[in-house]
Each structure stands twice: as structure tokens, then as C-alpha cells.
């Protein structure tokens, strides 16, 4: 049958092609693009949004496909049609996760859509940890991966600090300015070659934490609202109708678990597959375990620095997060966000953020199980949990979504009020001496 020939991104293209990348996490992606640029790629983050993007998606993707695919592909084709780019000098980049969720098919749907709109000649680069497709002109060398890895950690930290500062800042806009300053500074530092100095990285962490701590803040208590969900609609303002802005405008502090957890989740699943089904070589398994422990340690370092400084609440520690779902579901549930989504809800609750928006594209298959499917027992075992599931799709109206979120917020305020009367003590946080033990407990 007529199989489409894959258009490769060649070495020649690297010179003068611009790689267009759809936005998911503004801070992280900006850092990653800077890294790509410093490695000689021309890259641009797509920031076009609005009705045109959705319409373009509707025209080019099967309408029952999940909303993130529709948006990402819509955003790309809308950009190609905007006249801003020489379409014969651009390439597109999209992430490819692999796994039993249909998200692993985005790249193919994108290629089909390009073909259909007459852009079949545009190369599409798959960005994936598993290395599903190869392109001669695009290689993630070890040095670049090293930088991307730190970009994720930096991005997570900046996101965490700014989320805890922005709602309380006395001078409006100060937090965002600091985020921009740091992003620029970090990009500059990562420009060179060779492994990054971890000492330097840790100094950055400390300086970053100190800088945010120095921003003058109000002392008022705000309701904290956690955001979990399918990775794209969870993080992308385009995907979730600017959910974070909305929550903040309603007087809430937003808590968003970071991207590092998702990366760790992917690695954890490979290890767990070995436990459940066997079949991998001992060497491969050993290497994966080493990587897992390495990454977890890096996450722990940040947590400890935040705790040492004392102004901010750190994010969850992955090996602990892993354990939270015991008794809820098995770690074998690994499609889409899988068990991690349930774990993140439990992590938020454990950290005292009981109000949660669980975001998903309309009809998201894994979320039937790990999102909506788990809410009943989560609420049963955590009576304070106040969770609202919100579906996103091209037809869902904002008013409908906001009304449901408002209900959750009304309850959140009521709970906060009654709690103030009770005055609960400090949040139950695991002590970090336990952490090493936890990490080791994973065999």
C-alpha cells in the first residue's frame, strides 16, 4: 500500500532550516530551545494561539483524536500558513512518547496532516527518550542531553518558586521578571561545551531560591490548588484555557508537580516492566537502575536545598511518590500518565494541597482509569480531598469549565475556613533522612 516516505532531516538542513517547536511548558521549552540554538540549530518556539489554531486542528486531524494532538498539529499548520516562514526552510519537532496510549501516534497524525495540506516535504523530527526514529541532521549528543536534563530541573525549580511567589508578590510582575532574568542567565551558562559543573548548578539552585525568597510577599493565606492531568493539558496554557491564570485570578496559589517526575516515571516503568514481565538484558536493566538512582539523587538535592533555605515548600520526592499509590493501583498501569497521575493527586493531598483540578482531554483513555477511575477511593480514604475533573476539547466552553472549577473553589474556601477554626498544625512531610532509604528500597 502507499506508505508515505519519511522525510529526513538531513545534515544540510541543519544549516539553514528553522525547527519549529510547539509550546508546552513555557519556561522549560525556552531553556531547551536555547540549548538547541547553542548546538547550531535554528529553533523557534511556536506561540500562536487562538481560534485559528483550533480550526486548523479540526480541519487536519480526525475530530475524535485527543485534543492535544489537535492543538499541536493545528498550531504547526497554522504557523506554516501564517506566511511567517519559508515553508521550504522549516522542520517541525514533536515529542514521541511510545507506549500503549494513542499519544505515541501524534507524529504520524502530524505527517498525515502535512501530507493532506500539501506540506508533505517538511521534515518532522521526533524527540523521544527511547529513540524511536533517527534523523542524520539531528542528534542528541551526551553533552546536549546533559544540558536538557538540567534544563528540566531548572525549569521545574523556577516553576515551583514562581508559583509560590507570584500570588503573594507585593509588586506586581516582579516574579515574572525574575523568572525571565534567570532563564536568560541559565541559557547563557549552558552555551559552552563539556559537562556542566554540578557545583555550579547547585550554586545556581541556591541563588535562585534566595532570589525568589527575597521578593517581598504578603503574609495572607491563600487557598492552594493543585493541577494534575494529561501532560499537555496539564502544562500548556493553550491546552487548558490558561487554567493557572484563572486560578490565580480567583485568589488561589497554583501547585503544579514538575516535568522531572514524568521523566522518572518513564524510566521507572521500564524497570517495572522487567519486574513484571522479564525479558530485558541484565546490562540494560543495570544501566537503567543506575540512571534512575542518579536522577533521583539530583531531585533530592533540590528538595534539600529548598528545605534548608526554608521559605518554600519543595516538590515531591519521586521514590516517595511511587509508594503513595500502593493500595490504589499497581505500577503496571503505565499508559499515558498512568499511575503517576494518581500518585500526584495523592502527593498533593499529602502535602496539604487537597484542592485539585484533574485536567484531561475529552475522552482520554488512560484517564478513565487513573484519573476519574481513582477519584472515588481517593476521596474515600482522604476525606479532605476536593477534586474536580475538567475535560478539554475544541467544543468545551470556558464558562462550563470555569463554573465547575468555581464549585471546587467554593468548597476549597469553605474547607479552609473550617480548618482555620480547627487550626491544624504543620504539614506531615517525610523527613529527609528517610529519603536515602526510600531510594534504596527500589530494587
Amino acid at each position: 500500500m502507499a506508505e508515505m516516505e519519511r522525510v529526513l532531516f538531513t545534515k544540510e538542513m541543519k544549516k539553514d532550516y528553522t525547527i519549529l517547536v510547539p509550546t508546552m511548558l513555557p519556561i522549560h521549552f525556552q531553556l531547551m530551545l536555547d540549548i538547541m540554538r547553542s548546538y547550531g540549530y535554528k529553533a523557534e518556539l511556536l506561540e500562536n494561539s487562538g481560534r485559528n489554531v483550533v480550526d486548523s486542528g479540526l480541519r487536519n486531524v480526525h475530530n475524535d483524536t485527543c485534543y492535544p494532538a489537535l492543538l499541536v498539529i493545528g498550531q504547526m499548520i497554522d504557523a506554516l500558513e501564517s506566511g511567517k516562514y519559508d515553508v521550504h526552510k522549516v522542520a517541525l519537532m514533536i515529542t514521541q512518547t511510545g507506549g500503549g496510549c494513542r499519544a505515541s501516534n501524534y507524529i504520524h497524525l502530524l505527517r498525515k496532516a502535512l501530507q493532506k495540506s500539501g506540506y508533505g516535504f517538511i521534515p518532522v523530527i521526533s524527540l523521544s527518550a527511547g529513540g524511536l526514529e533517527r534523523n542524520p541532521g539531528f542528534k542528541l549528543g551526551p553533552m546536549m542531553l546533559d544540558r536538557i536534563f538540567y534544563a528540566i530541573l531548572y525549569g521545574d525549580l523556577l516553576m515551583l518558586l514562581s508559583n509560590q511567589t507570584r500570588p503573594y508578590e507585593l509588586e506586581a510582575g516582579r516574579t515574572d521578571r525574575l523568572v525571565d532574568q534567570w532563564a536568560a542567565r541559565l541559557s547563557g551558562q549552558m552555551r559552552g561545551r563539556g559537562l556542566l559543573s554540578y557545583r555550579k548548578v547547585q550554586e545556581n539552585y541556591k541563588a535562585m531560591i534566595a532570589d525568589f525568597a527575597a521578593i517581598p510577599r504578603t503574609q495572607e493565606e491563600k487557598v492552594r490548588v493543585g493541577v494534575v492531568g494529561e501532560i499537555y493539558v496539564k502544562f500548556s496554557p493553550l491546552g487548558n484555557n490558561n487554567l493557572e491564570d484563572f486560578l490565580r485570578s480567583e485568589g488561589a496559589e497554583v501547585v503544579v508537580p514538575g516535568l522531572m517526575d514524568f521523566l522518572l516515571y518513564c524510566i521507572y516503568n521500564q524497570l517495572n516492566d522487567q519486574t513484571l514481565y522479564g525479558g530485558a538484558s541484565r546490562l540494560r536493566d543495570g544501566v537503567m537502575k543506575w540512571i534512575y538512582r542518579f536522577l533521583v539523587k539530583k531531585q533530592l538535592d533540590i528538595i534539600q536545598l529548598i528545605q534548608a533555605e526554608g521559605s518554600f515548600r519543595p516538590g515531591g520526592y519521586f521514590p516517595h511518590t511511587v509508594q503513595l499509590v500502593d493500595g490504589y493501583l499497581d505500577h503496571g498501569v503505565k499508559m499515558g500518565e498512568g499511575w503517576l497521575l494518581t500518585a500526584e493527586m495523592l502527593e498533593l493531598i499529602e502535602q496539604g494541597t487537597c484542592n485539585i483540578v484533574c485536567t484531561q482531554p475529552f475522552g482520554c483513555l488512560p484517564n478513565h482509569i487513573v484519573g476519574k477511575g481513582m477519584m472515588r477511593i481517593i476521596k474515600e480514604r482522604n476525606p479532605k480531598a476536593n477534586i474536580v475533573a475538567v475535560d478539554y476539547d475544541p467544543g468545551a466552553t470556558r464558562i462550563n469549565q470555569e463554573n465547575r472549577i468555581k464549585l471546587m473553589l467554593a468548597n476549597a474556601h469553605a474547607i479552609a475556613q473550617s480548618e482555620q477554626e480547627e487550626d491544624t498544625g504543620d504539614l506531615p512531610m517525610p523527613q529527609y533522612e528517610d529519603y536515602e532509604e526510600l531510594a534504596a528500597s527500589f530494587r
Binding site: G363, H368, P394
Partner: protein, 1004 residues
């Protein structure tokens, strides 16, 4: 906080919902005033009006005030007034005034809400898909041509209740329409509508929590409709003292707002409040707005003149003498008639809503025609088409019937002989077909989910207080048409709400709805990305295109002019009349004038007991002893038995699975739920567990009752129906006293080496986890629910892993025992798959020997469940077709390379089956798709392109909880007719040119 306002003793709550405004005044803790009115989208003026009506009470002293409700949100923001979320408001009021309440059910215009108080406070609203309730009831009443009050009265006199899809209003509507056309009693339909609302509330909202104890029912619909009250009490099995329908029910939210205002609000004077509301004109034109349809009257005139050219000549019936041919199109909402003269001119035409009783309308028309024709005009042929084709044919002895797609094609060819694309938007469906080589090439019909487009305009116009014509005219010159999106009508309802909130006027909304209808057709049904795809010569028709605003939107969206015949609404009837003429009968058998005068029609409902489907039959009896049975899925109740004798692999597979023995064993009983992947892997688990000494008990074949039994524990109402049924299967096993249930999680499926990987879909893979978390009984003391994650794709490690999983609950098992059982299991599964293939070969051989066509009915293994496939296999067989499944033929070709990631075992079979079908001249493929199956969004396009590249037609049937078999029948008939036409063309033009061209290039 601010100091308490000691002097303020009055508080006002205003609840502005999607359809009504409710205002309440509380003074000294007593309700002194209440008012309830529909706002017809005039939110702010209506609120002001209500406030002024209460002016005497409020003028003299300051009071506190708060707004609530979905439409109140925007107004409160714009006016800077306190707002309280409506469900929260209800919760507050109930806690204060009826503290012994266990649960609240509140139905509003478009929202449904539930609050649980006992056992953990929980407040929920319907998801965005669940559609409206009050508005839904209104819509259904319109469909039955009665007022909502009459609907209630009718329902109270019901004798039986039909199952009507309850998840979404649009689904329900497409179930009701055929019932109406089949002549079911209005009383019964009315009661079924209320029952559907109740079911929707229970599945959509309760989500795993049982509604028990003292239940408070609030909101307008639950106050007004006694039949709805009765149905709730019955369905929830509430005793009278536990079902409370307070007279204040409609005002609960308003009252809650008033209480909230009292606690937190600043006082206002009457004048201040009016002033704020007056000034709160929401900004105009902020939201997405579209191009106007016409810039000027001159543009419009030119447009009208152009389309006026596509017309049919008319002749005066009363002065005509000679032969005539009659076409009747009995559609879902309208009935159309055309009488043609011998030279093709129109002698008589009729178009009207069928008001829920098409038989009576047709009789009136035929009487009138017979009288006017007298002996001058001889009707020499008659043909019927449309949903009610069979009913009308049987009632009036119409000579012939033809599937509506063919009728439309015949008609369109008269206007544009080169037509290569026909789009028909009727009341209930969108149909479009591509024409290639002078025959219908591909047919696309809207799924149940996006249907209702034409009638949506009608219902919406009415709800805003306009006639359809008036409403459409308003849109023509709208300055800033509102962008309402392109989804189903339920979504459109909330888009309209949003647009109104943003200040869109009626004109903008009218134009916006027209654009939406068009976008729906283009992007959802046709799935076009450019106008070029549709072809050069497009003919549009169907009643909806008589609306100039829709026609104009279509041309604008397409960027091309199209032909709209002046008789756009009559094309089905016109095509039928042309067909009647082609029959060349000497005389029509149509009922004579005398027979028509004495015509009687009665209908009664009954349930067919001939098979497990238990179809609800409607038996229509006509004068002269003619009768017509409808509602059946196969021809057995009609006395036919042909379907039963042909090989049908769907039926065969199910029989084989059910024949697996239940052998008592020393380890006692263990249950397996017969759904999802168990419908393929049962031989594996059965062999394994039997060998281990268990007595394997399989839950029965699914039925509607299976669904109902488990309904209340379904947490996600948009998951596919096959998954939802699992809740019932578990319930059935537990009911039988089986306390050990085995249902493993399987990320991976068997590796059949057809694709890049061998996954199950997330739902099949992990549904056991969901059951464990939501079916409370599975966590009870004494119940063992075994759902380990197992990898059958890796036989070499399987024994060890399985042993580890079983050793905990069954410590006496030995590894050797397990190893032997595993071996037996793999052997049993291999044997089963081989038998399926062998049976497939036999069926195909039988078909060829006896000259039957073959349909590869392709879906998933669980589609053999009759409650999931709704008897579609039998329906297809009733056309004399041999039915095999995708699994029987998928090994007959080399693995297909596709343009998507081919990583699911079941789905890889589809691609192969499609490829194989393209190599077999006597085979067609029909794909079954369960609603909500996200993965099929990927497979369907791919299967379609494989088939089309191979010169085959693609037919997709989307199925859900309930399926409108009428639509399925049309599609199957269209497919068969198109295939026959293609075969005839091939014979005429042999050697036939290889089918290629635009399509191939497009996908190539």
C-alpha cells in the same frame, strides 16, 4: 472584616440559570417575595424586570444581594456584585434548612447536579458531554409536537417504557425519532424520555455512589414534571417519606444566594443596584466573531437570483391529464411528497413536519391527491424512501421502496449530471456521498453524536421565540456572526450561552448557528481539509439548505459556488418519484380513494422473545389486514429465518465460548467476567484455571440488564460501552455467590507479529484496576478479586510470574502444576485462534459455493457480544450475506505497513483485514466502532484509505449503549446498492478501468 450591618434585615438572591431567572426576597428570615421567569437569553433586561417587579419591597431600605447560576456569573462580574457558585449555594441552603438530608438531586435548564451529604460531602455537576435536562425535555416535547406540560400528562398514561440512550440528549433524540416513525405510542415515548433523564442522572452523576436515604429533589423540571418525579422515586426505590419534592425546589439556589449575601455582602440601595445592573452591559464583540454572511442587500439579491436557476418546471395538477409518478419521502422529522408528470414536471409537492405521526399525514395527502387526480391523472408508479419507508409502504401499498441515498443521487443527477459530491443536511442527519464512475462511491453519515443539526436550528429558533424562517432571515445580515464551534448540539447550546454572555444579539447567533451547522458537516462528517477534496460539482440539498444563511455559510466556507435545487427539501421524494417512473409499471398498487377513506391504523407494542436481544417491537395494524412490525433487528419475528442459516462468525464465536464446560474442581469456583478481552481470551484462562482444579464460572452474555446492574458504579461516563458492561458482569458473578473473581490486567496482548508492538488499549489493559477501585463489593470481606498484571506475550516468563501472583491466595499451588496449566492454556488459545480461521475459511467457501456476498465485520473481539453489536451481524445476514470477523482473514495477507504507529494487537488485524478485502471481489468490509474508542480515531482513517486505494467502499458503524438500527440499515443498504451499481457498471464497461485518481493521489 467589615462591621456587621445591623440595620439590614433584607437580603435578595438572584439565580440566573441557562433558561430562567429566579429572584427571591428574604426579610427577617422569611421569604416575602419570589418570582420565576424564562429569560429567553435576555439575561440583563429580564433580571432588571424581575427586580423592578419587586421594587415596592426594596425601595425603602438597603439590602444585601448575591447572584448565582451559569448566566449569573458574567453579569455579576460585569456589575461587580457578589457571586456564589450555584451548587455550593444549594449545599448551603440544604445544610441550614433540611439538615437531615442525605442527598440532593437538582436538575436545571442545562445542568444536572448532585450533592451527597452523608458519608463525606460531595458535590458534582454533569460533565460537559452530558447535555441538558430541562432544555432536553423541552426539545423532546417539541419533537413530539406537544408542550412540556402535555409531555408530562402523556407520560403518566404510559404502558411501557422503551430504552432510550441516556448519556446525551442527542443520542436520546436519535433513538426517539425511529420510535416515532415506527408508530410507537406517544405516551410510552414520553415516559421513556423521563426515564432517560433519570438514568442519565444516575450514571452521569452518581458515579459509583449509591443514592440512598432521604433525597431532596430541586430545580424547575423536578418541580413541574410529575412523571419525572414518579420515575426518580421508582428508579431509586425511595419510600415516600424519603423522596422530598419541596415547593421551594425551584428557588433553592436563589435562596442559597440570599443566605450567602446576608453573611458576606455589602448593602445596596434599590437605586444603586439598578444602576449597577443597568451599567453592566457586557462588552460587545470581544469574543470570536466571523465574517458577515452578506455585506449588502445587493449581494443577497444576486445570490438569490443565481440559486433560482436550479429549478424544476411545474404544471397545474388540476388541468393536467395523463400519467403521473408519486414519490414519498418519510424522513425523520418531515414528510415530503412529489407527484411528477410523464415528462418530469412537478404536478404536486408537499413538505411538512410529520408531527410525530407520519402515517396520518401521508394518508391526508394521498386522500387529497386521489381526489384531485380523479380519473384524469393515472398514478402509474409510487415509491417510498426515508426512515419511514417500510411503514409507509406497508400502510399504503406503495409499489417500491429505495434507500434514501439512492433517491437523493437520482434527484441530484437531474440538476447536475456531472455531480461528484452530494451533501444533504436534513432534520436529523447529515449525509454526503462522493460520486465516482457514475455511481455512489463513498457514503458518510454523521455519527449519532453530532446529529440533530437541521432540527437544532428549528428547536433553537422556537426556544428563542421565533419561527425557523424568521430566525434564519435574522442571520442573513448579522454584522458579527458568533463563532459557536463545530461540535454536537449540546456543546452548541453552551457556546450559545457563552456568546450571549458576551453580548451577541439574536442576529449574530442565528448566523453563527448556520455557520456551525456547515462546519459540523464539513469537518466532522466529511472531514474535508480543503474544498478541492469535495470535487467540482457539488449539489446541496435537504430542508436545512432551504435556509439561505446555511447555504451562504457553506459557499463561504468552501470558497466555491454550489447548486442548490429550488426543491432542496423535496429531493428524496423527487428521486423516489423518478424511481417510480423507472419501474415502468402498468398501474400503481397504491391504495385507492375508497381504501384511503376507510383506512385505519392502530399500533401496539410487544417484546420479541425469539432471541436474547429481546427487541421492543411495535406492531402496526392497518385496515385490510396489512400489518407492519418494526423495532426488530433481524427478520425472525417477521417469519423469515434466512439469517439463521447462513454462516455468521460472530454468532459462531459466541456459541463456542458459551459451550466451554463448567467442570467442578477441588479448588472450588472462580468467576471470569465475559467482556472486553475475555471474549477472546476465555479459552486461555478457562483451560488454565480448569487445569489448576478450579470450577470456572463465566458470567453470562451481556444484556441491557447487565448494564443496569452495574450502571451506578461507572466513574467515567465517556468510557466505551463494552467497558461499562464490565461493572454488570462483576455484579452478576457476585450475585451468583461467586466470591473469587479472576480478571487480569494486561498491558500487552499476544504478539501476532503484525505490527510494531502488541499492546492492548488502555481501557482493555487496566479496566480491572478501575473495577477494584469503584465496585465496593469487590473490597468486601470474603471477596477475592484477583487482577494481577500479567504478560501473556512472553510465554518464557509467564509461568514464573503467574505462579508468583497465585501463590499468595493459593499457597498450596506448586510451580509444576502452574507450568502444566500454562502449557495447556497456550495450547487451548492457539487451537481457538486456529479454529476461528478455519471456520472463516469454511464460511467463505460456503458463500462462494452458494453465491452469497461476504462482509468482513471488523471490530474488536468484544464486538461479538450481542448487547454491544446490537444484532448488527444478524441484520447484515438478513440481506443474505455471510458474516465473518477481522480475525478470520487477517492472516491471509502479509502484514500491512501503515502510516500510523501500528502498535495494538487488535487494531493491526483491522489493517490486514482491510488489505485482504481489497483483493477479494466478493467481499466488503464494515467497521464497527464503539463510541468513545479513542484509538479508532486513528484506525478508521487508515482502514478507509486502505480500502479506498483498493477500490473498495468504506463503511463505518458507530455503536454505543443504544444504536439506531434504522441508520445502520440505511448504510448497509446503501453499501449493497452501491456495490451492485459498481458491479453493473463494471459489467457494462468491461474491462473496467482500475479505480484510481484523485483519492489515491491524495492519500498516496
Amino acid at each position: 472584616m467589615k462591621e456587621k450591618m445591623q440595620t439590614v434585615n433584607t437580603t435578595v438572591g438572584i439565580d440566573i440559570g441557562s433558561t430562567t431567572v429566579k429572584l427571591i426576597v428574604v426579610r427577617d428570615h422569611k421569604v416575602v417575595y419570589q418570582q420565576y421567569e424564562r429569560h429567553l437569553s435576555q439575561v440583563r433586561p429580564k433580571t432588571l424586570e424581575l427586580l423592578r417587579m419587586a421594587g415596592d419591597l426594596l425601595r425603602d431600605q438597603p439590602f444585601t444581594v448575591a447572584l448565582s447560576g451559569s448566566a449569573g456569573l458574567g453579569l455579576a462580574k460585569a456589575a461587580g456584585l457578589p457571586f456564589i457558585q450555584e451548587v455550593f449555594a444549594t449545599g448551603e441552603v440544604v445544610k441550614k434548612l433540611a439538615p437531615d438530608t442525605d442527598a440532593v438531586i437538582e436538575l436545571g435548564g442545562e445542568d444536572a447536579k448532585i450533592i451527597f451529604f452523608t458519608g463525606g460531602l460531595e458535590e458534582r455537576m454533569n460533565g460537559s458531554c452530558a447535555g441538558g435536562t430541562g432544555a432536553f425535555i423541552d426539545q423532546m416535547a417539541t419533537l413530539l409536537d406537544v408542550t412540556p406540560e402535555q409531555l408530562d400528562t402523556l407520560a403518566l398514561a404510559a404502558q411501557k417504557v422503551y430504552t432510550i440512550a441516556s448519556r446525551c440528549g442527542v443520542f436520546a433524540k436519535s433513538d426517539i425519532q425511529p420510535l416515532l416513525n415506527q408508530g410507537a405510542r406517544k405516551e410510552d415515548i414520553a415516559a421513556s424520555i423521563f426515564k432517560a433523564v433519570v438514568d442519565q442522572t444516575i450514571t452521569g452523576l452518581a458515579q459509583g455512589r449509591r443514592i440512598t436515604g432521604k433525597v431532596l429533589f430541586l430545580g424547575g423540571p423536578l418541580y413541574f414534571f410529575k412523571a419525572l418525579q414518579r420515575e426518580f422515586v421508582r428508579s431509586l426505590r425511595l419510600s415516600p417519606e424519603n423522596a422530598i419534592f419541596p415547593s421551594m425546589g425551584r428557588y433553592a439556589v436563589a435562596l442559597g444566594s440570599a443566605l450567602y449575601a446576608e453573611k458576606t455582602g455589602d448593602p445596596f440601595t434599590y437605586g444603586q443596584l439598578l444602576e449597577r445592573l443597568e451599567a453592566a452591559v457586557t462588552e460587545n464583540h470581544t469574543a470570536h466573531r466571523l465574517q458577515p454572511l452578506f455585506e449588502s442587500q445587493a449581494d443577497y439579491d444576486a445570490f438569490v437570483a443565481r440559486h433560482a436557476q436550479a429549478t424544476v418546471e411545474r404544471l397545474d395538477l388540476d388541468s393536467y391529464t395523463g400519467d403521473a409518478y408519486l414519490g414519498i419521502d418519510c424522513g425523520s422529522t418531515t414528510t415530503k411528497l412529489v407527484l411528477l408528470s410523464a415528462d418530469g414536471r412537478i404536478l404536486y409537492e408537499f413538505y411538512d413536519a410529520n408531527h410525530g405521526n407520519p402515517v396520518e399525514i401521508v394518508r391526508e395527502q394521498l386522500l387529497l391527491l386521489r381526489r384531485r387526480c380523479a380519473s384524469r391523472v393515472r398514478i402509474r408508479g409510487s415509491a417510498a424512501t426515508g426512515y419511514g419507508e417500510d411503514l409507509v409502504r406497508n400502510a399504503f401499498s406503495v409499489d417500491a421502496g429505495l434507500v434514501e441515498t439512492m433517491a437523493h443521487f437520482r434527484a441530484a443527477r437531474r440538476f447536475q449530471p456531472q455531480v461528484d459530491f452530494i451533501l444533504d443536511i436534513g432534520g436529523q442527519d447529515i449525509k454526503c456521498f462522493k460520486v465516482r464512475h457514475n455511481s455512489i462511491d463513498s457514503i458518510m453519515l454523521n455519527e449519532a453524536c453530532s446529529s440533530g443539526c437541521g432540527s437544532f436550528i428549528g428547536t433553537f429558533a422556537q426556544s428563542m421565540g421565533y419561527s425557523v424562517e424568521e430566525f434564519a432571515r435574522l442571520g442573513l445580515f448579522a454584522k458579527h456572526p458568533a463563532d459557536l464551534g463545530s461540535r454536537c448540539t449540546v456543546f452548541m447550546n453552551s457556546s450559545v450561552k457563552q456568546a450571549q454572555k458576551e453580548g451577541a444579539c439574536v442576529e449574530d447567533i442565528s448566523a453563527g448557528i448556520s455557520v456551525s451547522v456547515v462546519k459540523n458537516a464539513l469537518y466532522k462528517v466529511i472531514r474535508a481539509s480543503s474544498a478541492a477534496e469535495l470535487g467540482e460539482h457539488v449539489v446541496v440539498q435537504g430542508g436545512t439548505f432551504l435556509n439561505d444563511a446555511v447555504l451562504r455559510s457553506f459557499e463561504m466556507e468552501l470558497g466555491r459556488q454550489v447548486v442548490r435545487p429550488a426543491i432542496a427539501g423535496l429531493m428524496g421524494a423527487y428521486g423516489a418519484a423518478l424511481y417510480a417512473q423507472s419501474l415502468e409499471l402498468p398501474e400503481s398498487g397504491l391504495l385507492s380513494l375508497e381504501a384511503l377513506e376507510q383506512f385505519t391504523h392502530t399500533s401496539k407494542s410487544t417484546t420479541c422473545g425469539l432471541c436474547g436481544n429481546h427487541c421492543s417491537l411495535t406492531v402496526n395494524l392497518f385496515s385490510g389486514g396489512r400489518r407492519f412490525i418494526s423495532g426488530n433487528r433481524c427478520d425472525r419475528p417477521l417469519g423469515g429465518g434466512s439469517a439463521a442459516n447462513l454462516p455468521n462468525l460472530y454468532h459462531w464465536k459466541l456459541e463456542q465460548l458459551l459451550a466451554l464446560p463448567r467442570t467442578p474442581g477441588p479448588r472450588g469456583a472462580i468467576g471470569l467476567p465475559l467482556g472486553l478481552n475475555m471474549l477472546e481470551n476465555l479459552p486461555f484462562w478457562h483451560a488454565l484455571l480448569t487445569q489448576l482444579g478450579f470450577e470456572v464460572v463465566v458470567s453470562g452474555v451481556s444484556s441491557r440488564e447487565t448494564y443496569t446492574k452495574g450502571q451506578f458504579s461507572i466513574p467515567s461516563d465517556t468510557v466505551c460501552y463494552p467497558a461499562k458492561l464490565m461493572h454488570g458482569h462483576i455484579a452478576e458473578l457476585l450475585e451468583q455467590g461467586i466470591h473469587r473473581i479472576f480478571y487480569p490486567c494486561m498491558t500487552y496482548n499476544f504478539d501476532e507479529h503484525k505490527g510494531d508492538n502488541h499492546y492492548n488499549c488502555p481501557v482493555v489493559a487496566y479496566y480491572p484496576e478501575l473495577l477494584k477501585a469503584n465496585v465496593a463489593e469487590l473490597n468486601q470481606e470474603g471477596v477475592l478479586f484477583l487482577h494481577p498484571h500479567l504478560g501473556i506475550h512472553r510465554p518464557e516468563t509467564f509461568t514464573e510470574k503467574l505462579y508468583a501472583a497465585l501463590a499468595v491466595p493459593f499457597p498450596d499451588l506448586t510451580k509444576e502444576e502452574v507450568a502444566a496449566a500454562v502449557q495447556a492454556a497456550y495450547a487451548a488459545q492457539a487451537d481457538w485462534m486456529a479454529r476461528i480461521k478455519e471456520q472463516g475459511r469454511l464460511a467463505i467457501a460456503y458463500a462462494r459455493e452458494h453465491g452469497h456476498k461476504i462482509v468482513v465485520l471488523s471490530g474488536r473481539p468484544y464486538h461479538i457480544d450481542p448487547e454491544i453489536n446490537h444484532g448488527i451481524d444478524r441484520l447484515i445476514a438478513s440481506f443474505g450475506i455471510v458474516v465473518v470477523g477481522e480475525d478470520a482473514v487477517s492472516d491471509l495477507v502479509e502484514p500491512v505497513r501503515v502510516n500510523v504507529l501500528n502498535q495494538w494487537t487488535y487494531h493491526a488485524r483491522l489493517y490486514n483485514a482491510a488489505k485482504y478485502v481489497t483483493t477479494q471481489p466478493d467481499m466488503e468490509l464494515v467497521q464497527l466502532v464503539s463510541f468513545g474508542c479513542g484509538i479508532d480515531a486513528i484506525t478508521t482513517d487508515e482502514v478507509r484509505s486502505i480500502l479506498e486505494e483498493g477500490g473498495k467502499l468504506y463503511t463505518q458503524l458507530k455503536i454505543d449503549e443504544i444504536t439506531n438500527l434504522g441508520a445502520v440499515r440505511i448504510r448497509i443498504r446503501s453499501l449493497l446498492e452501491a456495490v451492485a451499481e459498481r458491479d453493473r457498471a463494471a459489467k457494462r464497461a468491461a474491462p473496467a478501468p482500475a479505480p484510481q485518481g484523485k483519492e489515491a493521489v491524495l492519500h498516496g
